[in-house]
């Protein structure tokens, strides 16, 4: 079986502001892209694992975490793990950068 990897160009790195989240829709998938103060970029599914849902892209970014804007869950941008005392995990996507173009790997 041949595995296909799809790389989708999503943004210019220089256009992204630090400590901000961007919502990106690829076909039917909604992805939240975050640029940290350190310059790192992470991509997560734009949906909180809270039972009632909620988006992540408008959450407050602190270090390598984002706080879900609706129920204030603290979520790791690196592995998508929800921090204690809450529980859950958000799907993460790997981000690749070629010069100024950022790609999301599906």
């Amino acid at each position: 079986m041949i595995e296909t990897i799809t790389r989708i160009p999503v943004a210019h790195y220089a256009n992204l502001k630090e400590r901000a989240g961007y919502s990106i829709k690829i076909d039917d998938k909604e992805i939240a892209l975050f640029k940290l103060s350190s310059g790192e970029v992470y991509a997560l599914e734009n949906r909180s694992p809270h039972p009632k849902g909620g988006v992540l892209s408008e959450g407050l970014v602190s270090g390598r975490f984002v706080y879900c804007p609706v129920y204030d869950w603290k979520i790791s941008l690196v592995d998508g793990m929800v921090q204690a005392p809450d529980e859950g995990q958000v799907r993460t996507y790997s981000v690749e950068r070629k010069e100024d173009i950022l790609f999301i790997v599906l």
């Binding site: 799809t6 256009n15 990106i24 076909d27 408008e58 959450g59 407050l60 270090g63």
Partner: protein
Amino acid sequence: MKKLVMIGNGMAGVRAIEEILKVAPDKYTITIFGQEPYPNYNRIKLSNILQGDTNFEDIIINPLEWYQENQIQLYTGETVVKIDREAKHVISDQGREVDYDELIIATGSNSFILPIPGADKIGVTGFRDIKDCEMMIKSSKQYKKAVVIGGGLLGLEAARGLLNLGMKVDVVHLMPHLMERQLDPIASSLLKGELESQGMNFLMEKETVEILGDEHVTGLRFKDGSEVETDLVVMAIGIKANTAVAKDSGIYVNRGIVVNDFMETSEPHIYAVGECAEHREIVYGLVAPLYEQGKVLANRIAGIVGEAYEGSVTGTQLKVAGVDLFSAGEIFEDGTTKSIMIYNEYDGVYKRVLTRNDLIVGIVLYGDTTDSTRLYRLLTKKEDISGVAIFQTACSGESSSDDIASMPDDELVCGCNGVTKGAIVEAIQAQGLTTLDQVSHCTNAGRSCGRCKPMVSNILAHTLGDQFDATAAQKTSICGCTTVSREELVAEIKVKGLTSVKEVMNVLDWNNEEGCTKCRPAINYYLGMIYMDEYKDDRDSRLVNEKMHANIQKDGTYSVVPRMYGGVTTAADLKKIAEIAEKYAVPLVKLTGGQRIGLFGVKKEDLPSMWEELDMPSGYAYGKTLRTVKTCVGAQFCRYGTQDSMALGIELEKKFERLDTPHKVKMGVSACPRNCSEAGIKDIGFVGIDGGWEIYVAGNGGVDLRPGDLLCTVKTQEEVMEMTGAYLQYYRETANYLERTSKWVERVGLEHVKEVLANEQTRKDLNERMDLTLKKYIEPWNEAIQNEEIQDKYYAKHTITSGSESK
């Protein structure tokens, strides 16, 4: 998922639900019925409310959000009247039927009201819930004299509270000694002496036979024929398990609902827990055993084979009117016991340990309870005490630290929440905790009755060793990222001249470099408050609603509420709103509580164009700022109106709109005391009277329902503006971030605020700082429309079809 229903919404039951959520999070959909119109609150603290030490919000254990987050359907103010065991459903007094697979009865208990003539008169109450407290507080404002029947713990706490409320209090007790079930005669006479010196009057060995009066109580008659006058009777004789619904439904009931070691009643799939349950012929009334029961029940319901409940030995740590007491095990000597005593009448300290065959069988401590944990361990573990020093001498100085060192890890520190020393030490070390507040937060220790806080503090000191900072450990830090309190933060910002959120976190050594959702908005607020027009707002330190200038809804859409000064609009504006609502297919158009029109369910990416087409300023329905000024029609049209309420409302709203405040601020303006704008429950309310305005402050119509207090009466609209500016600015400068005006006024005192604002120069200075601050605000919707960078960063949704090249 299976259905779990609980009848009762009190401490024991809700704790059991918490345990169930822990061990079987997705097994049940949960429904809870509560008779009282509140979420679960800490009943132990009712006496503090009565004594004025705390308010209702502080004693809520599980706020309504907790029920929502755990998807628990809660029906408050609703009583279950029938359990249909055949059909497996319960029926409430409002006719609601809910099916169950498993049913928990946690109906608690009621005050025991003496069955004597007159017990139904107005002015007779138990002491059991918020309603009782409110009744007593209300009576104290109207009447002078109260009688408490019952000289047990509950009765004495009620009496102390009534004394604080300024009433004259008699305590009637049937027995010759107070608290005879916990104290021996010596301790009880010491207590009586102390309470008498605080102003309580005791009528001992009196049996009440009748309550006198017509509709309202006027006095009591005792068996010996004597009488006493009173305006209020509080019955605190004891509690009675609330078993009515169980009994009516054919479940076996003795004194309580009879359960086995797994909290199962006589009926399959029906359980009982808490004060309504009778286990091995004992009905428990203290919180620790009830929490133990909850744990056993949770395992049973989760289908986990766990330990059985085998009953509890109870040690009672009490504080009555400032006196520390501890009591456990047997109280009275018999021929086989030997006592070890310390009796220091001078310092008011009395300790007695009752032993039998080299084992401790009973403990009474009065005035000094530092030995309680150690002695209680010797009692419950049945350790041989020959050769053991029973009482530590007070002169060793470091005894507390030694005590901690010798304390085994499995020793229970917080009995209410079942937290051991080991768990506390582990949390301190693993999570780097440095304050009592943090330890309570992480472990639950000290969160119920609070008596173990000194012990937790000692453990913290012992664990941290040299790094322990006693003053820092006691204070409330603004969040877990720091140990700095609000006062220190504001002082440090000023002294060190810190000018940005980042700099504050950096210089003040935040342990979490970029802060969290609690501290960042707070720091941003304080900086804006201190530097007024010189501070550049850090938009990314605001939470979603203020950052987006729209209210986020649970599905990620937003609401748009345009400004409508004083709630006054025009036909043209209404047409425009209607057209835009149609054009953008807005799912919901609704009048808000503050006399505005809300458009709900708007997509993020539609916000800027909708704002542009509306061409109206933001109504700030989302911010910690002035929300709305609600007005009545007033003198312009209303035949009762004495003042122009709409004009004042519009002037207020135009002046103070967009101002950052510690929490939201709502205003109301009425043109006459009929008060159609509900100004009496606003942060600031204005009521027109003949020849002037009354200004009411600190009202609240929300969670913390509170009528406003009259701040002052002024003659002209200019004076209204001057006083309001000064008041608001003083609130801005002295309140904690997220403290509503109602809480703030209660904390600092209305008299204090009046005093400050009485000084004309102070008012002038406050108004100058207010005006300087107001200069900096620009209309945010218009700013977003003009600024592409803002649009791209906050409002764009980038849609990409896979295979395409760029965004």
